[in-house]
C-alpha cells in the first residue's frame, strides 16, 4: 500500500538524516582533537568528511520536505517537523563552518589553552549528540523527549562555563591583543555548536507538548 510505503520511506530518510547529524558531531570532535594534536592529515580528512555529511544532510532534508508535502503526510505536525529538521541541519552547517575556519585561519593555540579547547569541543559535541537522541525520541516516543532534553541544556551550560573560563584565561595572558581576539573568536566558534543544539532543544520542548496533547 503506497500510504505505508511513503511513510516508511520518509521514516528511513529522517533516521538517516539524524544519523548524518550525529556522525557530523563525531567528526567535529575528532577534527578539533586532530587540530589540537597537530595531526594535519587527519584534520584535513575530517574537513572533507564533514563536507560530504553536510551535503548529504541537505539532500535528505529536502527529500523529506518534498515527500511530506507531495504525499500530504503528518499535516498536523508537518510544519514542526520541517522546522525541526531545518534547525538540526544548522548544527551540521555550523560544524562545517567551524572546522573550515580552523583550516583557513590556522590559529596558533598555546599549550596552556589546549585542554580548554579540547573540553569545550567535547561539551559542544555532547550537546549536539544529546539533541539528536531527543529528536529521535520525538518521532518514536514523545513522552521520552523531556527525559533527554535536560542533557542538552546541561552540556550547553557546561560549554558556556568552559568558554567563559577559557576567554578569561586568554585575555589574562601575555599574548598580543590580535592573537587574544583570534583565540576568543575560535572559542566562540566551537561553543556555537552547543548553542545550535540548544535552539533545537527549545523547539523540541514545545513540539513534544503539542504532540502529546
Amino acid at each position: 500500500m503506497s500510504l505505508f510505503k511513503s511513510s516508511r520511506i520518509v521514516e528511513k530518510q529522517i533516521d538517516e538524516f539524524l544519523d548524518t547529524v550525529a556522525e557530523g558531531a563525531l567528526v567535529f570532535r575528532s577534527g578539533i582533537n586532530a587540530y589540537l594534536e597537530s595531526a594535519r592529515a587527519e584534520f584535513e580528512a575530517s574537513i572533507i568528511e564533514i563536507g560530504k555529511l553536510e551535503n548529504r544532510a541537505d539532500i535528505l532534508s529536502r527529500e523529506v520536505e518534498s515527500h511530506l508535502y507531495s504525499h500530504s503526510l503528518i499535516p498536523e505536525h508537518r510544519g514542526d517537523v520541517l522546522g525541526l529538521l531545518e534547525h538540526t541541519d544548522n548544527i551540521i552547517d555550523t560544524v562545517k563552518m567551524s572546522l573550515m575556519q580552523f583550516s583557513v585561519e590556522h590559529p596558533v593555540i598555546p599549550d596552556e589553552f589546549d585542554a580548554g579547547y579540547r573540553k569545550l569541543g567535547e561539551a559542544s559535541y555532547q550537546a549536539a549528540d544529546a539533541v539528536v537522541v531527543s529528536t529521535r525520541a520525538f518521532f518514536r516516543d514523545a513522552t521520552a523527549v523531556k527525559d533527554t532534553l535536560f542533557k542538552v541544556h546541561h552540556y550547553e551550560k557546561e560549554a558556556d562555563g568552559i568558554s567563559d573560563t577559557l576567554k578569561r584565561a586568554i585575555f589574562a595572558s601575555d599574548l598580543e591583543l590580535a592573537h587574544k581576539t583570534q583565540l576568543r573568536y575560535f572559542a566562540l566558534n566551537v561553543e556555537r555548536i552547543s548553542d545550535r543544539a540548544e535552539e533545537v532543544a527549545d523547539r523540541l520542548a514545545i513540539y513534544a507538548i503539542k504532540r502529546n496533547t
Binding site: 500510504l3 520518509v10 521514516e11 499535516p75 505536525h77 517537523v81 518521532f139 518514536r140 513522552t143 504532540r211
Partner: protein
C-alpha cells in the same frame, strides 16, 4: 415522462443527502487535512453507489419512510420539501439529519391529508436528539482512552502513526459510505419502486441488474454527485468548525459514530446476538449527524479542548428546526401542487367500524362499549375519526391506532399481472409467492383481511411471537405487507 418528472425530486433528495450526510463519514478526515477532499469524495461516492446497489436493493425493498405517502405526486412533493430543507441547511453549512427532514415533511403531509400522525415518529425524533449524542459521546471518550493507551504502549513512529490513522480514516469512511448508501437509498428511491419503469438488464452477460437495482443505482449516483459538488462546506464544519481536531481524535470520532450506529441501530447484530442466546443491545433511534457531533463534543470535553459553543448552538437549533421547516414547506407545497397543478397528493382515506372490525378487535383483546356509538359511520377524515374515538371510548393510544388501522377501507386485489411484473421474486420466500398465487384475483375491502388470508394460507406470512430473535423477521414481514398494500391497492388505478 410523468414518472421521470416525479423521479427528479427523488434525485434532488439524493443529491441533498450526499451533500449533507457525506460529512458524517469523511468530515473529520477532510477537516484535519488527513484526506484530501477529492480523494474523500471519490471514495465516498464509489462506496455509496456500491452500498445502494448491492445492499440497498437486497435489504430495503421497503418503500422507505415516504411509503406512508400514498400517491406519487404526494411522494414527489414530500421528497422535494425534504430535499429543499436539507439543501438549505447544507447552504448554511449545518450538518442535519436527512431522515428527520423526511419525517418532518411526512408529518406535513399527514396534516395536509388529515391523516393520523404516527406518534412514534415524533417520539423517535425527540429521543434521537438526546440518546444519540450521549451514547456516541461516551463511546468516543472510551475509545479515545483505549487508543491513547495503545499508542503509549506501542510507541509507533510519528509517520507510522500518521499512516495508520489515515488508513483507519479511509477504511472507516469507505465502510460508512457503504452503509450510508445501503441504509438511505430506500428513503430516496424506495417510493418509486412500485412504478419502476426499468426491466432486468444484463451487463455484458456477466451479471443481471434488476429494475430496482437500476433505480437505486440512479439514486446513488445522485447521492454521489451531491458528495462531489456540495459536501465540502459541511465537511469543513464537522471537521473544524466546532472544534479543531487532531488526526487521532478525528479517527476516534468516525469510529465512535460507526460503532454507535452498528450497536444501537443494527437489527442484524441484534438478530445475531439473540440467535446465539446472548444479551442484545436496546435498539434506540440514532442519527449519523447527531452521532458525529456527539462524539466530537464528548472527546473535546474529555480533553478540555475549547468548543465553539456558538457553532454547537447553531447545529442544535438546526436539528430542532429541520423537521419543523420540512413539515411547513411540505404543507405549503402540497397545497400548491394540489390546487395549482391539480395533482392528487393524497388518496382519500375512509374509515368505518363494521361488525367484522369489532370481532377482530375482540379477538385481539380490544373492547369498548363506546365503539358501538360510532360503528357504521364512514369517516373521510382520519383526524376526525381519531378525535371521535378518543371522545367516545376510553381506549389507550395504542388501541386507538389499532382500531384506526383495522377500520381503514379500500379495495385490494392480488393481481397476477402485478405479481409477475412488480414483485421481486428474490425478496419473497417460495411459500410466500405460492400463497400470493393461490389467492390471485381475490378482492378485499380491508388490507388486514388480505394479510389474514395470506397468513392462513402460509405460515411464512404470519407474524412471529414478539421476541428479540424474531424482531427482524417481523419487521421484514411488516415491510413486505406495506409493499403489498401499495402495489395491490386498486384505487390508485381505478379511481378518478
Amino acid at each position: 415522462m410523468g414518472l421521470l418528472l416525479f423521479l427528479s425530486s427523488g434525485l434532488f433528495l439524493g443529491w441533498s443527502l450526499g451533500a449533507n450526510d457525506a460529512a458524517n463519514v469523511f468530515g473529520t478526515a477532510v477537516g484535519t487535512r488527513m484526506v484530501r477532499f477529492r480523494t474523500a469524495a471519490v471514495i465516498c461516492a464509489v462506496f455509496i453507489v456500491l452500498g445502494a446497489t448491492l445492499s440497498g436493493a437486497g435489504a430495503a425493498h421497503t418503500l422507505g419512510r415516504l411509503g406512508a405517502v400514498n400517491t406519487l405526486a404526494g411522494a414527489f412533493t414530500v421528497a422535494l420539501a425534504a430535499a429543499l430543507t436539507t439543501f438549505w441547511m447544507t447552504r448554511l453549512k449545518m450538518p442535519v439529519s436527512t431522515s428527520q427532514a423526511i419525517v418532518g415533511a411526512i408529518i406535513g403531509w399527514n396534516i395536509y391529508a388529515a391523516s393520523v400522525t404516527d406518534t412514534d415518529s415524533l417520539t423517535r425524533i425527540v429521543l434521537t436528539w438526546v440518546a444519540c449524542p450521549l451514547i456516541s459521546g461516551t463511546l468516543a471518550v472510551v475509545l479515545f482512552m483505549l487508543i491513547r493507551w495503545l499508542i503509549n504502549t506501542t510507541n509507533p513512529h510519528l509517520l507510522r502513526l500518521d499512516a495508520m490513522t489515515r488508513a483507519g480514516l479511509i477504511l472507516a469512511g469507505a465502510f460508512g459510505s457503504y452503509s450510508l448508501g445501503a441504509n438511505n437509498i430506500a428513503n430516496v428511491m424506495g417510493v418509486f419502486v412500485p412504478e419502476n419503469p426499468f426491466g432486468d438488464l444484463s451487463v455484458f452477460g456477466l451479471f443481471v441488474l434488476s429494475g430496482t437495482q437500476q433505480l437505486f443505482l440512479l439514486g446513488s449516483v445522485a447521492i454521489g454527485v451531491g458528495v462531489f459538488t456540495y459536501s465540502e462546506r459541511v465537511m469543513r464544519t464537522v471537521g473544524g468548525g466546532l472544534v479543531r481536531l487532531s488526526p487521532v481524535p478525528a479517527l476516534v470520532v468516525v469510529l465512535a459514530h460507526s460503532i454507535t450506529l452498528f450497536l444501537f441501530a443494527s437489527e442484524g447484530l441484534e438478530h445475531f446476538l439473540a440467535s446465539h442466546h446472548l444479551p442484545t443491545f436496546p435498539l434506540v433511534p440514532v442519527s449519523s449527524s447527531q452521532a458525529v457531533v456527539g462524539a466530537i463534543v464528548g472527546i473535546s470535553l474529555f480533553k478540555g479542548a475549547p468548543i465553539r459553543y456558538r457553532v454547537l448552538g447553531e447545529i442544535s437549533v438546526g436539528w430542532i428546526t429541520t423537521p419543523i421547516i420540512a413539515g411547513v414547506v411540505a404543507f405549503l407545497m402540497l397545497f400548491f401542487v394540489d390546487n395549482v397543478f391539480d395533482q392528487r397528493v393524497h388518496q382519500d382515506m375512509r374509515y368505518r367500524i363494521d361488525r367484522i372490525v369489532v370481532e377482530e378487535l375482540a379477538r385481539q383483546g380490544v373492547a369498548d362499549a363506546g365503539l358501538d356509538e360510532i360503528a357504521g359511520t364512514t369517516f373521510a377524515n382520519g383526524v376526525k375519526f381519531k378525535r371521535d374515538l378518543e371522545t367516545a371510548t376510553t381506549l389507550a393510544e395504542d388501541d386507538i391506532h389499532r382500531v384506526i388501522e383495522l377500520s381503514r377501507l379500500g379495495h385490494w386485489m392480488i393481481d397476477p399481472g402485478i405479481l409477475a411484473e412488480k414483485i421481486d421474486t428474490r425478496w419473497l420466500t417460495a411459500a410466500q409467492l405460492d400463497a400470493l398465487r393461490t389467492l390471485a384475483d381475490r378482492r378485499y375491502e380491508r388490507s388486514w383481511l388480505m394479510h389474514r388470508e395470506l397468513a392462513a394460507t402460509s405460515p411464512d406470512w404470519s407474524e412471529r411471537p414478539p421476541a428479540a430473535i424474531h424482531r427482524s423477521w417481523n419487521k421484514e414481514l411488516a415491510a413486505k405487507l406495506v409493499f403489498l398494500d401499495r402495489v395491490f391497492r386498486l384505487e390508485r388505478r381505478d379511481e378518478p
